[in-house]
Structure formats: C-alpha cells, structure tokens
Subunit: 335 residues, 2 copies
Amino acid sequence: MRTPTIQDVARQAGVGVGTVSRVLNNHAAVKSATREAVLKAIADLDYTPNPHARRIAGGKSYTISVLLPVLTTEFYTRLLDGLETAFQEARYDVAIFPLLDRSRLERYLASHTLAYQADGLVMATYNLTEVFHERRLRTQQPTVLVDAFAENVDCSFMDNVTGGRLAGEYAAALPGALYAIWVETELDQLFTTRVFEDRRSGFLGALAAAGRGVEAEYTSSFDTLAARNTAATLLDRVQAAPGGLPCTVFASADLLAGALLDEVRVRGLTAGRDVRIIGFDDQPWAAARGLTTLHQPVEGMGYEAAGLLLSRLSGYPGPPRARRFEPRLIIRDTA
Amino acid sequence: MRTPTIQDVARQAGVGVGTVSRVLNNHAAVKSATREAVLKAIADLDYTPNPHARRIAGGKSYTISVLLPVLTTEFYTRLLDGLETAFQEARYDVAIFPLLDRSRLERYLASHTLAYQADGLVMATYNLTEVFHERRLRTQQPTVLVDAFAENVDCSFMDNVTGGRLAGEYAAALPGALYAIWVETELDQLFTTRVFEDRRSGFLGALAAAGRGVEAEYTSSFDTLAARNTAATLLDRVQAAPGGLPCTVFASADLLAGALLDEVRVRGLTAGRDVRIIGFDDQPWAAARGLTTLHQPVEGMGYEAAGLLLSRLSGYPGPPRARRFEPRLIIRDTA
DNA sequence: TTGTATGCGTTATCAG
DNA sequence: CTGATAACGCATACAA
C-alpha cells in the first residue's frame, strides 16, 4: 500500500491540493467546514506530509538539528524534553547529533545531513558557532545556544553564578568550617564549558561578601568512584581537625553530594547535623534522600531556547536575545 | 550567495543536467572527458546534491538511520565508527537516534524523521523490529541488526557465548578457585540484551566441559563504584578462605576488571600471580595495564552490518543473512 | 554518449 | 475562501 500523498487527501476530501496545504500549514482563512473535511481525510488516510517535498517546495523541512554532549546525564535528558516539547507543539521534528569528541563533529560537518536537513540549529553547552561559520559559509541556519551564553546569538542559559551565590549565601550563615567540591572539566579548547567555574565564582563571591571563606576545596572527576574517594579524603581531613565538626560542604553536583552522603553515613556521622551538604541539580533521588540542593528549571530553559529559535524561523529580525534562568535553592534535611 | 544546483553545474560544465546527474550517480557510460569537466565544475562550485530533492525524485535520500543505546561506552563509539566508515564509502550519510528509554523511542516513532528521512535502518543491540512492524506498517525500510541476532532479518553480531567459552577454557587450566563477575542488566522487556547471559553460558559451559566450576559468582551494576565494591566483596571472601590464593576471576567487562585490578593493588596483592584476571572488551587502557582480556572486532562488525544493509539497498533479494564475529583472547600479564 | 522532458510531493502564486 | 498551476532540485525514461 502506497503512502498517501497530499493528492490523495485532496481527492478524499473533495477539495484541491492547495486547500489541503493551507490547513496543513494553518494558513489564512479556510472555512471551518472544509477544514474539518480535510482533517478527517488526513486522519482516515493516516497521512503525514513528506518533509523532503516540503523542503524542496517551500524551503522548510520542519526539522531542527540539536547538537549536544552525550545525553547520559539527567540534565540533558530533561533539556531535550523541554526542547522537543516546544518543537513538537510547533510541529517541528528534531534530529539529535550527539557530540562525543571532535572527530564526531568533523563527521557531522562533512556530512550533508546537517547542512540540508534542518531549518534551524540548537547547540547545547558548547558554542560551536565559530566552527560552523568557518566551515559552512553558505547554509547559515538560524541558531540558538542553550546552556551556554554568547553575545552574538540567541541563547537560553542557566545562571550558574547565581546558583553558586545562593549556595554561598545559605552556607555563609551556617556554623563551622566551609568546604567545596568541584567537578574537573578536562575538555579540549573547542569543547569547553564554564558551568563549574561559574558556580565557584558565585559561591566564593557570596562567602567573601559575608566575610567568610572556604577551609579547603577539592576537585573530583564526574564519576561515582572518584566522587566517593574525594568525599573520603574530605572527611578524613575534617575528622582529623580539632573541632572539625560540624562543617558545611557545597558539593557542586548532586553526583558529588550523593557520594558524600554515602560516605558520611558509612562513618556513622549524620548529614544535616555533623556534615551539612548542599548539592546542585536536584536529581530525582534528591528529595527521597532529603538533599538540600539547587533546582534548575532545565526543561524551561530548553523550552525557551526552542521558542527563541522558532521566532527566528518565523522571521523575527531583532538583535540577539539572552534568556537567563536561575536555579532555586531547595532546603531539605541535609543543610 | 545562492547554493548551487545541478543546473548551475550543468551550465558551468557546458553539459545537460542529465549528464551531471549521471556522473553524480556514476551511471552507465559517460565519456571520461565530459565526466572530468563535470567533476571540475562540481569542485569549482563546491556543489553538493540536495538530498531532499534526491529523495523526491529518485526515492533515495542517501541517509541511514542508526538506532543505538547511548554511546557513552567505547563499544558504541567503535561500532558507530565501523558503520559510518562503510556508509561513507558508499556516499551515505548517517543519522543517529540515541535510545535512552522507551519514551524516547516513542518520540522517534512519532516523528517524521525516522519514517521518511532514511533509506535504511540499523538497530544496535536491541531488536526493535517488532515494535516497528506494529507501528509503521507503511514505510518498511530495509533493516539490519548489529550486535544482536534474529532469524528473520539481516544481522551482524558478536558471539558472546564463544567469548565466554574462550575465557572459560583458558581459566579452567589455571590453578586455584574460579570466580566470575557479571553485569546486572536491568532493562525493561523491550530493551533487552543477552550479552552477559551469553558470556556466562559460554564460560560456565567451558568450565563444565573441563570438569570444573565456579567457587562463587557476583553481579555488579555497570558503574565504577559498584564495580569497586563488588571487587572488594570478592577479595574479602577470597582472602578469608584458607588457601584462597591464588585464584582466577573472569570479570565479564573491562570496567569490572579495572576495578578489580585497583582493589587488588590496594590490598598489596599482585595481579597475575595472587589473583588472575580475565576481562572482556579490550578497552584502550587494557594493554597499558597488562590486562588479559577478550578483544572484539567491533568496527568489523559495524562495517559488515553496513555492507549487509547496502546490499539490500541495491536490491539484493536473498533470505536473511547472519554474520558472526568472534572475540579473541589477548593474553597479557594479569592471567 | 548526451540533451530534453516528465514526474516526485509540496508550497506559493494567482486567478476566480 | 478555493482551485489550478508554476516552481523547487533532482533522477530517469526517451530521443537524438
């Protein structure tokens, strides 16, 4: 059975193809009776427009390319959810391009896929606009950055400085020494992100403003084992110091906070009393474990990014816009 | 500057569009002089054919969709490399569809991208053919399975039973008690894989054939911390048992083997003497750490899968074919 | 061996 | 408001 075309729909509904196309793109005015008829025919035939033909005819394929770091983490899953929800509402499809390393980016750039297939581009975390400018001077698609900031392009980003500051302000009011654990980012020059730098500067800034400072800082790679080891090292030091407890630790990612929580319990200490812990992310398990942490409106950020891009696609000409999202401190048991 | 079309190339080369199209698809006979001219024009204009137009006109878009579990692991990176290399040689682009969970699959199924864009489909690890049959009765694209086996479809797979057997045969000849660590696979019914079951049955089978058996088996989730804890638990038992050393451990993934290696060293034991370790994967670091492990021809498996699909695309009508690849035991220092 | 005409599924333009 | 019909960029049968 052949896949139905717009012609089939037109015939079935007893109208012209032009009319079908109009309801498809909810154009101008179509008498609601005929619109109903067309919609019914579409449903009956289970018709979906062929994006390739759309691209040829109208210059739009109704698909968006999303470039993002591997989506192993909850953050990117949620981000993608926000993006896809918005794009779906606007009847756009999204094609995902996972960025593992530079060689993968090269492959994407070399392939025709990226260049032709999409009406727009969203780049998450990494600002690759310059690479694109260098390589593909033609096909300049509207682009939006998400979870990253740049002057010359629309972007929707999380204000990690504020996140760090909120943690800092809250921690500064707590008794006992202050510690922090950061995430080591070992990426090459191209794939660079400033999230942890930002969280750190916000945190340290707030502490300074309150006349306080950290006792020590630790760095861990983003890995459960490394996080656990770092937690152990930190607690060794705290427990060895006279009057080391209680203390407060800003674990700048929930993965780190979780490991610390484990290590605290193993040592017979109590989180929230002996060791106060502030995480960052508000992962799904955070509520159950009573983790005080920064919640990020990730879906919202994605949704907004999509909106920005969509507005460009429908012709919005203004200067680059930046949408800032702020994490919110969720106070639970651990601090 | 407008992106050049086939018309522009034809004009530039002083030939008709038909001729350009012929050299593009290296059709029939084109006088090599005119072919040169066309090729030159193509290069001069930096022309690339528009896949959407190709799809409309000829029914082929020269892109392949690849569905795979998140590619965080080296295995999938290599697999993708093999696939992409083969497809690139045949001038096909590949679009990646990372499968995180069922909801993501649903999104893909709902989108037009998957349905329309590709000439063929490759599914890695998970056999989703049935879901596809249920949902998209139309658009039946040629499909190939990679890293998975099924009767009714072309597939290119790794024989994990053999891998386990090789490990078992080697381990059976070693003195001391035998242990094994498996990876816990906690996926829903849809996303199910038998790799670790297979490795286990091969391993246990070989042991039985040699009149031996395992002292104990452990299961760990695929995570550095969990692996380390499992290693510790295992070594606790071994060291507590009288005459527990030397022993041999089949760690059915290099991640597990690496954690065990770490734990062995921490305890002042020597890998390859006190504790013999056999891994599985031959990750990049395995050679440097002297890990005895099973090497898998992953790229080859991917390359072959692509070849299978490509042959279908060019009309090969035969019955489903299965290409089997065998891991190879690499003996180094740890066993 | 090569140019021309037709069609692919849509959108857009223009009469009606 | 709606129906023809001309593009869109390419492949392909048909002529030459």
